[in-house]
Each structure stands twice: as C-alpha cells, then as structure tokens.
Symmetry: C2
Subunit: 172 residues, 2 copies
C-alpha cells in the first residue's frame, strides 16, 4: 500500500517512453503495456485521464496511438500525478471544530472563519511535496534515466516500438 496508487507509476513510465518516441509513429496503449508487462486495458483507461488533462494527444485509426501534447520539458511530474490521481489534496479538513458540543450546532464566527491549525500544517507539508514534484519535468527525469540506462538499450527500445508500429496491419 501507498498514498499514491500504481497509476502514478504506470503513467510516468509510459510518458517517459512516449517522450523517447516523440518524432516516431505514436505508440498505442497496447504497445506500451506489452512492452512494460502491464495490463493493456488499464493503460488505456489511464490515458483517457492523461488526455483529458491535456498532457497527451490521441490519434485514432489503425496507425493511431498517443503522443505528448507538449515538449517533455513543459510537462512536470506534478501535472502527471494530478492528472492521474485527480488532484487529491493530502488532507481534507472536515472542520470538526464546529461540531464541538459546547457550540451546540452554532459555532461562533471566530471558529468558522479562522483556519484550522492542523489543516494549515498539512497544507504546508503538501506544498513542500508538490514543490518537489512540480520542479521536475519529464525531460529532467528522462535525463536522469539516461545516466543509468545505456544508449544501447534505448536504441533497442526505439527499434521495438518501430517494429511494432510497422507490424500493424501487415502480419496477418
């Protein structure tokens, strides 16, 4: 278990692959899923969210697929997380202060108008977290990955997607 679900991991990995194939044939959801060994249907569902958030553009038809809607340097990790997770806050204050039995259903204005201190602290923590995620773009992430993954693998990856795109509609 974790606070963020698997969707975040899947989404980021997929988008990184997409950024690699920017000027190639757009990989389909199925291609991306099979390449990474994850559920194709779930990836498809994921990309509907990413498209609604304006991060990717879908192409239909037999040669269809997805490509980034913006340069990879203009897409922050935070945008991806928010698109996938629905922009959920870290903490949702229920304002239970107002339920205090002393107020008997009529909390004074002083309580309702002032901000809950617990809420304020949580917002501060959330802001720090989002700051880290917002400061890093897909390009930065891709660069970091490039320092670990050798160019040979990257080339093999591109070739695989290329072959996969070529094979559509011809191998039956």
């Amino acid at each position: 278990m974790a606070l963020y679900g698997s969707s975040v991991e899947y989404g980021l990995h997929c988008l990184l692959h997409l950024s690699e194939a920017a000027d190639r044939a757009p990989p389909s959801a199925k291609d991306l899923a099979e390449y990474q060994g994850i559920s194709p249907s779930f990836v498809a569902k994921l990309f509907t969210k990413l498209e609604k958030a304006g991060l990717v553009i879908s192409a239909e038809g037999v040669r269809g697929g997805f490509r980034l809607a913006k340069p990879k340097g203009d897409i922050s990790v935070l945008q991806v997380v928010d698109a996938v997770e629905g922009g959920q806050p870290l903490f949702k204050c229920k304002e239970i202060r107002g339920n205090c039995i002393l107020y008997d259903g009529n909390p004074p204005d002083r309580v309702t108008s002032s901000v809950c201190q617990i809420h304020a602290l949580m917002q501060e923590a959330e802001l720090k977290m989002r700051g880290v995620l917002g400061a890093r773009s897909l390009a930065d992430l891709d660069k970091s990955v490039g320092q670990v993954v050798p160019a040979q693998i990257k080339q093999a990856s591109r070739d695989w997607f290329e072959t996969r795109a070529q094979a559509r509609r011809t191998d039956s």
Copy 2:
C-alpha cells in the same frame, strides 16, 4: 477524498484535547467522541493504534481513559500520522522496469541494482513532506491553536471534561 483519511484528523484533534487535560482525569474515548461530535466506536478503534504506537497510555476500569505517554512537546505530528496511517510511503515502486519485454524475464543487474529515478524523486518529495510534519510537535500545534481559541473556551472545555469525569458512576 484525500491521501490521508479522516483518522488523521480525528487522531490529532483528540490528542490535542488530551494534551490540555494532562493533569486531569483521563478522558475516555466516548467523552472525546461526544465532545467533538464524532463516532465513539471509531475513536476507540483509533486509540488502539495510538496505544500500540506508544503515544498514549490507556487506563482501564470505571475511571479509565487515555493520557499522553510523553510530554506533548515530545510527540510530533508525524508520529501521530504514522501511527494512524500505518507508516505508508507516498509511493511504492513496483520496479516495472524489470518487466520490460526486452529483458524477457531476466533483467540485467544494472537495472535491478540501480534505483528507479521515479522512485528517487518520490522519496525526495516524501522526505520534504515528512520533514514538515516531523518538525512540529503537539505542543507547537497547541500553541498555534491557543492564539486563535480564546482562553474562555479552553476553560469551558476543561470544565466539560471534568464534569463528565465526575458524572461517571454517580448520575444513575
């Protein structure tokens, strides 16, 4: 919806009330719940977690209840959150890199031994968040609240819990 559930909010509010009544009769879970207008059963369930985490000490019997296990200055908000939420990480890396179809089930050591860049970024964000929560204690929080809530209300609150404790076993 939010990343942290209601338990965090309930737990922190309850513990703040407990810190106010440090040298009084220990409030029971039922008292704390009714005072705040929340579910008594759920609060009881919550406090079992807080006790297992060593944050509160339970007293049994008719005059029983809960009191803080340590001075309020020695309990950080992070400890409370972790106790209630089970110390869940922000992000759990599934290492789907190793599933890559190119590796065919046998990912090279370079991949398995190196840290996932996405994972690393998430850990950085989580660290920042936990840093904020870990730097603030219940005493700090109580102080902030004191600047908003007038002493009159605080006194009324103490009186209510006192009355409630007195009323046990005598009003039937």
